[in-house]
């Protein structure tokens, strides 16, 4: 589905440097069909603005305060066309894997900018896979997430992985339990598992992923199954396969 050239489309510019935003603003002047819905200087604001203004297009820097460009992308969903604008060429591959429309390297010419805008217009309105799945799948081997970002309404929660007690699958979502609170995120438990260090988190059940640091003890439940009891008293079911995996880790530590 391609948008027609004269359709008004709304863009948000996200960059922590005023001069960098200025370049994009200026280059957009040549494209009256694109209106600037807003501008902001950090990841938090970008997520909030994207939620409120529902733009069609986002010009997104990668290295920014609070949340980086990839985390922003993960949180705002896939309806928005994203053009990354950065001085770092090392993220290009990852950017395309998360289905960014284009990747502009600073500084860029007006022609290059127009080409990116053209691609963005073609892409607008197409539904893409949930970004959380993609960014989890895109991690380099041996590199794991250090924190998880979750959106509660328009607010953004950052959960350091050390403070994630366990995760529970709930249909299309995972419930992330951290310090007595639960946060819902649109992601499958398998992709979350892939993003976390397997030495810290163990899949104890089809629907449960547990932080080994939080495991207080393991108790038999019925003939075939066990439960783990966490430091805060929560009880989680353990499947037979999960028991084998968990036992392996606990034996190594003990």
């Amino acid at each position: 589905m391609s948008a027609e050239a004269n359709t008004k489309c709304r863009a948000i510019i996200v960059d922590d440097e005023e001069l960098a935003r200025q370049v994009i603003r200026e280059m957009l002047k040549a494209h009256p069909e694109v209106g600037i819905a807003g501008e902001c200087a950090n990841g938090f604001e970008a997520v909030r603005m994207a939620g409120e203004l529902k733009p069609d297009l986002l010009f997104l820097d990668i290295q920014m305060p609070k949340l980086d460009g990839f985390e922003v992308l993960e949180l705002i969903g896939s309806e928005v066309a994203i053009v990354f604008v950065t001085a770092h060429d090392e993220h290009a591959l990852r950017a395309f894997e998360v289905h960014a429309v284009d990747y502009l390297l600073k500084p860029f010419t007006a022609e290059r900018f127009d080409a990116a805008l053209e691609r963005a217009k073609e892409r607008m309105g197409q539904r893409l896979p949930a970004p959380a799945e993609l960014s989890a799948a895109m991690r380099e081997p041996g590199q794991y997430a250090e924190r998880i970002v979750v959106k509660d309404g328009t607010r953004v929660q950052i959960i350091p992985v050390a403070k994630l007690d366990y995760a529970e699958a709930q249909d299309d979502y995972v419930a992330l339990a951290s310090q007595g609170k639960k946060h819902l995120k649109q992601q499958t438990i398998s992709s979350l598992e892939a993003a976390l260090d397997p030495n810290d988190f163990v899949r104890i059940h089809r629907s449960y992923l547990v932080n080994l640091e939080q495991v207080a003890r393991l108790e038999p439940y019925s003939k075939d199954s066990h439960v783990v009891i966490l430091n805060d008293g929560a009880r989680l079911p353990v499947s037979r396969a999960g028991y084998a995996r968990l036992k392996e880790f606990l034996d190594q530590q003990g």
């Binding site: 922590d16 440097e17 005023e18 001069l19 960098a20 200025q22 370049v23 200026e26 200087a41 950090n42 938090f44 290295q63 920014m64 305060p65 609070k66 001085a87 770092h88 390297l105 600073k106 500084p107 250090e146 924190r147 950052i158 350091p160």
Partner: protein, 370 residues
């Protein structure tokens, strides 16, 4: 250089080693050669002294026939023939000596006649012993040389490593600057030109520095200021700067581009991640190794503190620790254990402190730098 003659200590040990050998010769001459103890002694002692030096010539034949590359037959032929010659010379010496001494010990020149085989035999054996000794010394010398070469190679490798470590300007910094310039060309062309000049100034300074081992601290500080003036345009009010520099420290010499990466770290991982911006505080002063009455003299050691605020919620970036590791490594190679490097976080403050011995430029005057 002869391994024994070249070193007085070794020569001493060598002469000492000849004392028991002389004693054995004395015994042989007395017990088997049928001489009285006194006659044996006057012969044996000078003979040994002369032969000790003849045996040193084994070095030349050993060097000429290296143990590793010469065939056995060649080794045997060379050293046996040399030993026979040496033994022959020794007999000649003994003969002359006996003749000379026969004035004091009548009939000594006659008596010695039947001891020639004994003297010749022990001469050949002693010479062969000397050959063995020289081979040992030669291999010792070779291993010393190898060690020296290895040490030299290490120094060379370290130098090139240092060079590689210090001549790295972060390319993203340049790309971001160019992007800012690109923005300014239409909105504020005068400012764009100013930034071009500032960036060129910074780059020129860094390029020149890669060649030098040490530069005056004043030059490094000028480099940092020129770097920060470029960043100031990019970040505007978000970058706040505080500087406290004690007088006279600027005359001291430091490795180039040692502090600049630390300041750059503070900008990249501190200020650029803070929405409201942040601050950098640079303090340069005298180190702790000071004489009490030295406030006007040149410092003995320097202390640096680079402090900035950062967002503690943000996971630490790998780039920061690489930059810090580089600096630590450079300090280690340049100063060994004499430099101190310390990285700490206090809440939202990131503090890097270092202390290094102050090195002074001999001909540089304080006025020139002031």
């Amino acid at each position: 250089m002869h391994p024994i003659l070249g070193q007085l200590r070794r020569l001493g040990f060598y002469v000492l080693a000849w004392i028991p050998l002389g004693a054995i010769l004395l015994y042989l001459l007395a017990a088997l050669g049928g001489l009285s103890w006194a006659r044996a002694a006057v012969l044996a002692i000078p003979l040994c002294i002369v032969y000790a030096f003849i045996c040193l010539s084994a070095w030349y034949s050993c060097r000429g026939t290296p143990l590793e590359t010469s065939s056995f037959s060649r080794l045997a032929l060379t050293h046996l023939s040399a030993a026979v010659v040496a033994g022959g010379i020794w007999i000649a010496v003994a003969k002359g000596l006996a003749f000379a001494l026969s004035a004091v010990f009548p009939g000594l020149d006659q008596q010695i006649g039947k001891d020639y085989p004994l003297i010749f035999g022990s001469g050949v054996l002693l010479y062969l012993l000397a050959v063995a000794l020289h081979y040992v010394l030669l291999s010792d010398q070779a291993s010393h040389e190898a060690e020296k070469r290895e040490a030299e190679a290490r120094v060379l490798a370290r130098d090139s490593e240092l060079k590689a470590l210090k001549t790295q300007v972060n390319p993203h910094f340049i790309f971001n600057c160019l992007n800012s310039i690109s923005a300014l060309t239409t909105s504020d062309s005068a400012k764009a030109r100013e930034m071009c000049v500032l960036l060129a100034d910074f780059l020129r300074k860094t390029l020149g520095l890669g060649e030098k081992a040490l530069i005056p601290l004043g030059e490094e500080l000028a480099l940092i200021r020129s770097y920060l003036s470029v960043e100031q345009i990019r970040f505007g009010a978000r970058l706040k700067l505080e500087e406290k520099v004690e007088p006279r420290v600027l005359e001291c010499l430091v490795p180039p581009l040692l502090l600049q990466p630390l300041v750059e770290n503070a900008v990249r991982h501190g200020i650029s991640n803070l929405t409201e911006g942040g601050w950098i505080r640079i303090e340069i002063g005298r180190g702790s190794a000071e004489r009490p009455s030295s406030s006007l003299s040149l410092p003995l050691s320097l202390s640096f503190k680079i402090e900035n605020n950062f967002d503690p919620e943000r996971p630490s970036r790998k780039g920061a620790s690489i930059g810090l590791k580089n600096v630590r490594q450079r300090l280690d190679t340049a100063y060994g254990g004499r430099a101190r490097f310390d990285v700490r976080t206090h809440g939202d403050r990131f503090v890097v402190s270092l202390e290094l011995p102050a090195e002074k430029a001999a001909e540089m005057s304080a006025e020139k730098l002031a």
